[in-house]
Each structure stands twice: as structure tokens, then as C-alpha cells.
């Protein structure tokens, strides 16, 4: 036995998986990006449908220019934490602009989206508190809950009644109750019935945090997410999110009206004990935030593209998730078939994501496509054709 013995089952599962796949689904390399929607993979031009680049802004000219100019002035790194080594005025400017964008008092910017949810969940919930997490919440939320020392209760996915039952079962406690949900869930792209959750939060006197990682920039009149779409923003205590999807860069945030947010900077470990975002990333993020505010037509194009893809898949007989969002997955029954399908799609010229249990709901493998405003109608059509061809080639039964 050695330190790696415990990874033997993982090694065996991985070896079995790659024994029947010419390409490693977890090791795809994009050698070059030609645009927001086309890259070179395995030396070949490939449609990018697996990059979460919902508004195409990773390639925005404004952001690239701002990043380059800012790097020339400020350098390329901050070399330390904001608490120990100081902030740049750029960090504060971005926090101010995000707070304004969300109409909130305060914003804390984190170095990744993972750290934003990890930090907020682990810090807000203390020893006497209870966390109520949707069963399908992201790993960062579950990891944060483990760091928190709070009691963790999991409720059935997108099921407000199940949450109500579990809140009542816990009854009166000495600490607080914090409910954590997501606007759009990352595996199936399904959307939370948020109004119902807000009602329960009010009835049960709990706090509510929403992760809008996959809905920021996509839903709501101004792109603020599902809480804006459902007109319940004032009932949300904490909104967390990421820069790495619609905003096209890297980083994360939490916005809130609570004045105590300032104190959290001094006790949120994933904020304190890591290097802050580098200047060029902040500059690029600020430019892309301006684009999201100024160009609502991007959301309209994205919605049109996602709707086109979703209904084309249904018409072709694929089993999809329940909602149209920027994440559209098809559900297959068996892992080997899903791996073959993923490979065939790549060979036919499109990169999508393969998601396997236990990271998926209901123990089923998923083929997950992320749709972007930058995709053309022809590219969406092409992906539908590739799916149909791949289904035929690897014998996926269509309904």
C-alpha cells in the first residue's frame, strides 16, 4: 500500500473508459482559437460548443485591448492577497461597477467563481447554523459546506415542497438557516422555480443565496439572472456568480445589500488566503460588463440559438432536459454509448462536453452543449446534423 492506493478504483475506471475511446474526454486541448465559436482541436477546425462562452465575450476586442493596455501599465500579476498585500484601484472599481449593475450595496470580487461560492457558503454558515442545499448544487457549494462546520441538509432538486418539509423537520434551532440554490443548474441546464423558493424562505425566516453562474448575462431584462427575470431580487440575500462564463474571463463575485459584507473580507478564507485577480483580467472583465449592459441583443441572439437547438434535438428524437437555457444536454442510458457518441461528435467536427455519473443527476451520462450568442444559425444546424449522424453511427435509439 502507498499514498496512491486509494486512487486505484479511479485509475481502473479511467483505464476502462479510455480503452474504448480514441480521444480522452477529460483532456481535450484547444490548440488555437480562431473565433469564439471555432478552434483547432487535434489539428482540425472544430466548432466550439463546450466552452460556456455564452456571449462569446472571451474574444471581445474591447476586452482584449483593455487587458493589453492595462498589463502595460500595471503589469501582469498582483503577487498577493488583497488583505495582506493590498488592493489595486482596479479591484475596487470592478466591485463598484458590479454592485451598481446589480443595484446592490456591496460586492466582493474573488479570484475564481469556485472561491466565491466556497468562500461565501463556508463563512456565512457557522457551527450552530443549518445549510439547506439543492441536491444538484455545484461541487463548490458542497465543498464550502464542508468547510463551514454547519449542519448540512440536502433537499430534492428544484423541489420547493421537499425543502419546506426539511426546514420544518429541523424545527427551531439556535442558529440561522441558509438555503443555497442555483439559477440554472450546470448539468441539464434546468431552471429553478425561484418564486416558490422565495416564498418558503420568507415563511421559514431563512436566508437565501443564489448562484447565478449559468444565468448571469443570459436571463433577465438587464442580464442579472433568474432573480431579475422572476422579479424577486429584493428577496435574495446573497447572489454569487462567476466571470468565467458570460463575462468571458476568470474570477467570481458576491453581491448583497448587507453592510456587514465589509467585515466578511476579514474572515472569508478563500478571499483572504489567495492572490487577487491580475490587472489585465480585471480590465477585461470591466469591459465585458459594459458590453453586457449595453448590448441586450446578445441575450436575444443567445435565446434564439438555444431555442433553435433545443427544439431541433427534440424533433430528432433526443431526450433533453426540461428547459431552454444556454446549457442544453441530451441524456443517454449507458456510459460506453455516451463516450462513443462524444468521440463521434468530435470526429465529425464539434467539441461538446461529456458528463458522467456521479457528477450527473439520476446516474445517467449526459452530452452537454453550451450555446453562445456568437454561434451562427448555420453552426447550430451543423451541430444538429452532427448529433443525428453520431446517433446513427453509434446506434443511439431516437424516439
Amino acid at each position: 500500500m502507498d499514498i496512491f492506493t486509494k486512487f486505484k478504483p479511479l485509475e481502473a475506471a479511467f483505464d476502462q473508459l479510455i480503452s474504448f475511446t480514441p480521444h480522452n474526454p477529460f483532456g481535450v486541448t484547444i490548440q488555437k482559437t480562431l473565433s469564439a465559436t471555432v478552434g483547432i482541436i487535434n489539428g482540425k477546425e472544430t466548432l466550439l460548443f463546450g466552452t460556456n462562452n455564452y456571449l462569446g465575450l472571451s474574444q471581445s476586442e474591447e476586452a482584449k485591448k483593455a487587458a493589453a493596455e492595462t498589463a502595460l501599465i500595471f503589469g501582469v500579476g498582483t503577487t498577493g492577497s488583497r488583505i495582506a498585500n493590498g488592493s489595486y484601484s482596479l479591484h475596487q472599481a470592478l466591485e463598484h461597477e458590479l454592485a451598481q449593475f446589480f443595484n446592490r450595496r456591496s460586492c466582493m470580487v474573488f479570484s475564481t467563481g469556485y472561491q466565491a461560492t466556497l468562500g461565501m457558503v463556508s463563512t456565512l454558515a457557522g457551527k450552530d447554523d443549518y445549510l439547506f442545499l439543492d441536491a444538484d448544487c455545484h461541487a463548490s457549494i458542497y465543498d464550502g459546506s464542508r468547510l463551514s462546520q454547519a449542519q448540512i441538509i440536502r433537499f430534492r432538486h428544484n423541489d420547493p415542497e421537499d425543502l419546506r418539509k426539511r426546514l420544518r423537520r429541523v424545527g427551531d434551532i439556535s442558529g440561522i438557516k441558509l438555503i443555497v440554490v442555483e439559477g440554472v443548474y450546470s448539468m441539464l441546464g434546468d431552471i429553478i422555480p425561484l418564486k416558490e423558493f422565495v416564498e418558503i424562505k420568507k415563511e421559514e425566516n431563512a436566508y437565501l443565496m443564489i448562484d447565478e453562474a449559468h444565468s448571469f448575462g443570459v436571463f433577465g431584462q438587464h442580464g442579472r439572472g433568474i432573480a431579475e427575470r422572476d422579479n424577486v431580487e429584493k428577496n435574495i440575500d446573497f447572489t454569487v456568480g462567476t466571470f468565467s462564463k458570460s463575462l468571458g474571463t476568470v474570477g467570481g463575485y458576491c453581491v448583497s445589500d448587507y453592510p456587514q459584507m465589509d467585515q466578511l473580507r476579514l474572515c472569508t478564507r478563500p478571499y483572504m488566503f489567495t492572490a487577487s485577480l491580475p490587472p489585465e483580467i480585471i480590465a477585461a472583465t470591466r469591459e465585458n460588463l459594459k458590453i453586457i449592459a449595453a448590448r441586450p441583443e446578445l441575450r436575444e441572439t443567445l435565446k434564439r440559438n438555444a431555442t433553435q437547438f433545443y427544439y431541433a434535438l427534440q424533433q430528432a428524437g433526443f431526450k433533453t432536459g426540461p428547459d431552454v437555457s444556454s446549457v442544453i444536454s441530451i441524456i443517454l442510458d449507458e456510459i460506453p454509448q455516451a463516450v462513443h457518441f462524444w468521440n463521434r461528435v468530435l470526429e465529425l467536427g464539434a467539441y461538446i462536453n461529456l458528463s458522467l455519473p456521479p457528477a450527473t443527476p439520476d446516474n445517467r451520462p449526459l452530452l452537454r452543449a453550451s450555446i453562445a450568442a456568437a454561434h451562427t444559425e448555420a453552426q447550430i444546424d451543423q451541430l444538429v446534423k452532427i448529433y443525428i449522424q453520431a446517433a446513427k453511427d453509434v446506434e443511439v435509439t431516437l424516439n
Binding site: 464542508r146 441538509i153 446516474n363
Partner: protein, 80 residues
Amino acid sequence: MAETVKEISKIIIQTLLENPKVPRNISPESKIIEDLEFDSLAVMNFVMEIEDKLDVSVPLDRLTDVRTIRDLADAIVSLK
């Protein structure tokens, strides 16, 4: 209302056997991950079922020390 470790172990086993993929020869000493081949998600989903059946809240951190069916029954008895 089941209250003892023995009674709760029996309910857990009955509930597990409703799943056709679970081996038929399980006992209170069966290890949930190793013998039942449950992954982390399957364990959490199963605990939800048991919570509803016994009307009890089992916080996830209580599962850290649970390896066997009897351990789970012990944890539930201490929570009830």
C-alpha cells in the same frame, strides 16, 4: 415508531432491497460503499429516502463516520 438500532437497521435493509441492484445478502455489518458499491451521490440519495421514511434529519457531516448499515442506524437513533 422504530426507535432501536436493530429496528432501524431492519428498515434500512428493507429500503435498500427495494433497489434491484443491491446485493440480496446484506446485513447490518455490510459496508455501504464497499459491499453495496454505492458512490458518494448514491449514499446521499439513499440517506434522503431514509430521512423521509423515518421523519428524521441526518446532516451530511454525520455521515463522515458511517461505514456500515449499523453505523447509519446508530447515527439515526442518536438524532431521533
